[in-house]
């Protein structure tokens, strides 16, 4: 929102030594954020009115002219490209040292004395867009100022009366301060902040007129707590005076005609949106009602809107004339022919206006204000001001009806009482009750203080849901007292060890472990493309789907981190031969129950946190091993012993014979697998990919792993090696499991070679294992060890069909 300093000055005189920037800072620190301070005059520094004395062709350039320009103190030679420069014309001249926007585009550029194609040039004759003037149609040429009275050399800002300062207020910060959405409200606030006197706002009361009858009925007083209207006749629709145009323009509002400008002016001054109907179109009856099914209206923006029965309308008893608080209808607006008008000044329910404008996708200055909840008292002042102005601007205009005021729901005054000590306890301050009283009184609160207790009545312009409870009043005191004046402390707590989230700790450990094996952590979306899921053979129905994503290419919530990681592998394959990534995030399983929802007995979908790694490298066609290596390192660091068992029901995208479930005890905690090569190719993967995924929630629910301590063995160990041939499909995991149970003296088993090829029959493999035997109380005798290894050998031969190699 744009606020004009000149406009503010009509209501508040700030201290002379307060700079505009200081004022902006003060507002930002106590009220709302001022994003920019734009001093129109500063942007026109070193710009003057010039009078062209002569125009000559440029000797070296067809498109340029050499002008002699009277700039007041001297006559300067300026080279100009504009085709409309003629002798005697008044123009805007940017002298050296000024900053212009070349052709109205890009950054500001400083004007310097220069030579253009050999001819010296001491400035620039400007087009309006180059010096920040509003552009009118067909205005891409040099701006013609011949209409101005100002003589050559007059500072341009002065000549154009561009000496206002514009404060740009951040829009969102006004959310709870509708009272500031007009200049008077802002002035009232500034008066408090700078302890300056506020000029009270007292438009003339409206004389009761004759000639026209208006009847207003409000069918839904909840949605329209107050509706005021008055008719005027003898209106001459025409141009507004320059001062009014400038006021509007300073706030970024285009001047249209005097009637529309008056409504806009009042809105910008008071924050109360107004509307002017052509009385001859409207007739004498106004019915405020909800839309009928299938009712339509064409609004001032010339678009036709389909209405629904939740939308409030202003009708003439039959047809819609306006969408209440949002926009007027095309037909009922003020035109050049209008002579009689009805001013509407009403208060509409913020919720209703917001719903309607959201549904229609139609936002206006009016709806932006109404949806923030306005003070119904404004209706009357605004109407008075509008009539006063209209009478002033259109000399024949007079009030032609009674002032209608349908005010069925006047709000009750809001009174809050509290103790000063409560305020100080909340703020951590020692503000005396007297100071609190003073601050609140300045803000317009009526205050009664009894010892420590303050009883305050909220002023109507703040009782718009903004200030309702004691906490709101505390904020008022705090922000005016100044947050900078609160001396920081640290809260004191009894010592209690905080609850520790095991899943988070596991994720932390897993991350560290995976980084240590060279993996890079990626953050990827919780959303996945349907194409990716389909390429992997995953069912779309199993995935939760976003109802309304703006980024429509990824509507599904991930059930596993694998699909998006695979996509990322594809992206990275362009730049890297090897990709080793991991991610730890939540996934979404709609069929499983998760946490409570706060109300009702329903539960959220389960959202377990996963840790997932992928590995792929050019030329590596068994990336399974690297995936398993990552998994193994992670599990070791997390302290879990696990087993891999090929799944009987692998996912469709898993390599059917290079996949396994990860088991701890009897619990499946995840999988490690290669991606099915055909699906990988279909997805766009250049190389094979190995991947694992572990559900950290499941891991966290397992008993915490403990190290099993055994006394340190002092007696030497004996090692025996066995090399044997078994069928290819005999699982090493099973061999190890079984062998472990054979001998209590067997302390370590290590597989140190796997061989296939010459000397080993096709379909078989040769395993070489080292067995380490040890006793805690003695050195084992060779014979004893031989007996033990013999047992191992027998088991291998009998149970696994092993043939010993010699």
């Amino acid at each position: 929102m744009l606020i004009s300093k000149k406009w503010l000055q009509a209501f508040v005189k700030t201290p002379a030594d307060l700079t505009d920037q200081d004022l902006a800072n003060r507002i930002s620190l106590s009220t709302v954020e001022v994003e920019h301070v734009d001093d129109q005059a500063v942007t026109m520094n070193n710009m003057v009115v010039g009078v062209i004395e002569s125009v000559a062709p440029h000797p070296n350039a067809d498109r340029l002219r050499v002008c002699q320009v009277n700039v007041g103190t001297s006559v300067s030679q300026i080279v100009c490209g504009g085709s409309n420069v003629v002798s005697g014309m008044k123009v805007a001249v940017s002298l050296p040292g000024s900053w212009v926007r070349w052709h109205g585009e890009g950054e500001l550029v400083e004007i310097k004395k220069t030579k253009l194609r050999g001819e010296s040039s001491e400035g620039m004759i400007c087009a309006s867009s180059e010096i920040g003037l509003p552009q009118t149609e067909g205005d891409d040429e040099i701006v013609d100022l011949s209409d101005l009275d100002s003589p050559a050399g007059t500072p341009l800002a002065e000549a154009l009366e561009r000496n206002d300062v514009i404060f740009e207020i951040e829009h969102k910060s006004l959310t709870n301060r509708p009272d500031l959405m007009g200049h008077y409200g802002m002035a009232r606030e500034i008066a408090v902040l700078t302890k300056s006197p506020l000029i009270s706002y007292q438009p003339k009361s409206i004389p009761s007129g004759k000639g026209m009858k208006i009847q207003v009925s409000v069918e839904n007083p909840d949605l329209c707590p107050r509706y005021m209207a008055v008719a005027m006749e003898g209106i001459q629709v025409g141009k507004s005076p320059l001062w009014l145009q400038q006021r509007l323009e300073a706030c970024g509002v285009r001047s249209i005609n005097n009637v529309v400008d008056v409504s806009n002016f009042v809105m910008l001054e008071l924050g109360q949106p107004m509307h002017a109907f052509d009385a001859d179109v409207l007739g004498g009856q106004i019915v405020v009602r909800l839309a009928k099914p299938k009712e339509k209206m064409t609004a001032l923006d010339e678009k036709t809107y389909q209405l629904d029965p939740e939308m409030l309308l202003i009708t003439n008893g039959e047809n819609p004339m306006a969408i209440a608080g949002v926009m007027g209808g095309e037909g009922s607006g003020v035109s050049e022919k209008t002579t009689r008008i009805v001013f509407e000044s009403a208060n509409f329910s913020p919720v209703s206006v917001r719903k309607t404008s959201t549904k229609l996708g139609l936002r206006s200055e009016s709806s932006a204000r109404f949806e923030k909840s306005l003070d119904p008292n404004l209706c009357e002042i605004a109407l008075q001001r509008a009539v006063e102005l209209m009478t002033e601007l259109s000399p024949g205009a007079r009030v032609a009806s009674k002032v209608i005021d349908v005010y069925s729901r006047p709000p009750k005054p809001v009174i809050v009482s509290f103790s000063a000590s409560l305020v100080n306890a909340r703020l951590g301050t020692q503000i005396p009750a007297k100071i609190m009283e003073e601050i609140l009184t300045r803000l317009g609160f009526l205050v009664r203080t009894k010892k420590d207790v303050l009883e305050v009545m909220i002023p109507s312009w703040r009782a718009t849901k903004d200030v309702e409870i004691v906490e709101d009043v505390i904020e008022e005191i705090a922000r005016i007292y100044g947050y900078d004046n609160i001396v920081s402390t640290l809260p004191v707590f009894t010592i209690t060890p905080p609850y520790v989230d095991r899943v988070r700790m596991l994720a932390r450990g897993a991350r560290a472990a995976l980084v240590s094996v060279g993996a890079t952590e990626a953050y990827l979306y919780a959303f996945v493309r349907p194409e990716t899921l389909e390429s992997l053979g995953e069912s779309l129905d199993a995935h939760s789907k976003l109802a309304n994503p703006l980024a429509a290419d990824r509507p599904y919530l991930v059930r596993s981190l694998v699909p998006n990681l695979l996509e990322t592998v594809i992206k990275n394959q362009r730049s890297f031969d090897q990709v080793r990534l991991f991610q730890s995030e939540r996934v979404f399983r709609k069929e499983e129950k998760g946490e409570e929802m706060g109300e009702g007995s329903e539960l959220l979908p389960a959202q377990p946190r996963m840790v997932t790694g992928v590995y792929s490298e050019k030329g590596n066609d068994q990336p399974f091993w690297e995936a398993k290596l990552m998994l193994d390192k992670m599990m070791k660091i997390l302290g879990f012993e696990y087993k891999l068992v090929p799944s009987t029901h692998p996912a469709p995208w898993q390599h059917s014979v290079r996949q396994a479930e990860i088991l701890i005890g009897g619990t499946v905690v995840g999988f490690v697998t290669e991606v099915d090569p055909q699906r990988a190719e279909r997805l766009g993967l250049d190389h094979r990919v190995g991947t694992f995924e572990v559900n950290l929630q499941v891991l966290a629910d397992l008993p915490e792993p403990m190290v099993k301590y055994e006394p340190v063995l002092v007696h030497p160990a004996s090692e025996r090696d066995l090399a044997f041939i078994v069928d290819e499909r005999v699982l090493y995991g099973l061999i190890e499991n079984r062998v472990q149970q054979i001998s209590s003296l067997l302390k370590e088993i290590q597989l140190f070679d796997v061989y296939r090829g010459k000397g080993v029959e096709e379909g078989k493999k040769s395993l070489a294992m080292r067995f380490t035997f040890r006793a805690f109380d003695r050195t084992l005798e060779s014979k004893e060890v031989d007996e033990e290894i013999q047992k191992v050998r027998q088991v291998l031969e009998k149970e696994f069909g092993a043939t010993m190699r010699v």
Binding site: L427, G428, P491, N564, L565
Partner: protein
């Protein structure tokens, strides 16, 4: 005999000077001291001498022998020292050469790094580090936070909804964990919640529908705004150094009252004003405020007895500020060219 001994010593002296390696040394040792060596030879000849003379010559012979042995041992020492040196020298390696076949550099995502750093800070101050669902109930995400269905604040947050479910949303902030935590742990409460949040908006250089926040909540008897300022200062100084100051400005959030925006002195220009802080000297980092009584009530906490403050900030924003990252989309891209730098 004596003369022969003298000659032998002289001959030895001549030859010994030429010794440069161990091989020659051994040869000379054999030649002079060996079982069939020159000295032994002379000593055998002594047997035929008279006692008196034999004594004298014997003494002299011993002197020569000792001198030769002494000489050999010196040479030996000298030789082995230089040999050791040579041997070590042959073990030279290029210490600057990279380790071949070493594990490549992995790295944590920059947001994880900043998050873990802050988790440690808050843990050290006794805060619980909590987590909460990302697919959250509408109740916890909005209603419990004093944002009823008709509240305009719902406009400020464009929300992802789920097809076929009216009461769940992708959480738009980490704040839903405020009420969850109050209900779970009651008072006194110190908790921070780092986590991923979602806003339904189109992505560009500055906008990303997925981002990371850290939320904090402190509730107890007598908790004040001064306490909040103190905690925010602690965080700011941890992040940006001891001299960092915090400035509060009013800002509306439905779930706090009073609500503020916390700005910190720009770490780049130390508050002087630069491009990063848009010449203001301040960087907007925190949203904060005293917990709204309605929110405390939803958390089962009596606002007449307890008070608290809440704060939040964007981890994504902190990371971007810290490293000067200009395009927010890098953070969720999984692009190794980006990630490997951290």
């Amino acid at each position: 005999m004596k003369k022969q001994l003298d000659e032998l010593q002289e001959a030895f002296a001549k030859q010994v000077e030429k010794i440069t390696d161990r091989e020659e040394l051994e040869r000379l040792k054999t030649e002079f001291l060996g079982r069939k060596g020159k000295l032994k030879d002379l000593m055998q000849q002594m047997a035929g001498l008279a006692d008196e003379e034999r004594k004298l010559i014997g003494k002299r012979a011993n002197e020569v022998k000792e001198a030769i042995e002494q000489s050999f041992s010196e040479i030996e020492n000298r030789l082995s020292a230089s040999e050791r040196e040579g041997a070590m020298e042959r073990e030279w390696i290029d210490v600057t050469q990279p380790v071949l076949g070493a594990v490549g550099k992995g790295s944590l995502h920059p947001v994880t790094q900043v998050q873990q750093d802050l988790e440690d800070l808050f843990s050290s101050m006794g805060f619980v580090i909590a987590d909460g669902p990302e697919l959250e109930s509408d109740f916890y995400n909005f209603t419990a936070l004093n944002i009823p269905p008709t509240h305009p604040a719902r406009d400020m947050q464009d929300t992802f909804y789920i097809e076929g479910q009216t009461n769940v949303v992708m959480r738009t902030h980490t704040s839903p964990v405020q009420v969850r935590s109050m209900r779970k742990w009651g008072t006194p409460l110190r908790v921070v919640v780092p986590g991923r949040c979602f806003r339904n908006e189109a992505t560009d250089v500055r906008h990303e529908h997925t981002f990371h926040q850290l939320e904090g909540l402190v509730v107890d008897k007598g908790i004040s705004m001064a306490d909040m300022k103190g905690v925010l200062e602690t965080v700011a100084q941890h992040l940006y150094g001891k001299d960092t100051r915090v400035r509060l400005r009013p800002k509306f959030y439905p779930f706090v009252e009073p609500g503020v925006n916390g700005e910190v002195t720009c770490f780049l220009c130390k508050g002087e004003g630069c491009r990063l802080c848009k010449k203001t000297g301040w960087l907007e980092v925190f949203g904060a405020g005293m917990v709204h009584p309605n929110v405390l009530r939803e958390g089962g906490i009596d606002p007449d007895v307890y008070s608290g403050f809440a704060f939040g900030f964007g981890l994504t924003r902190l990371v971007m500020l810290k490293y000067g990252i200009d395009d927010i989309r890098h953070l969720e891209s999984g692009d190794l060219r980006f990630l490997k730098q951290f």
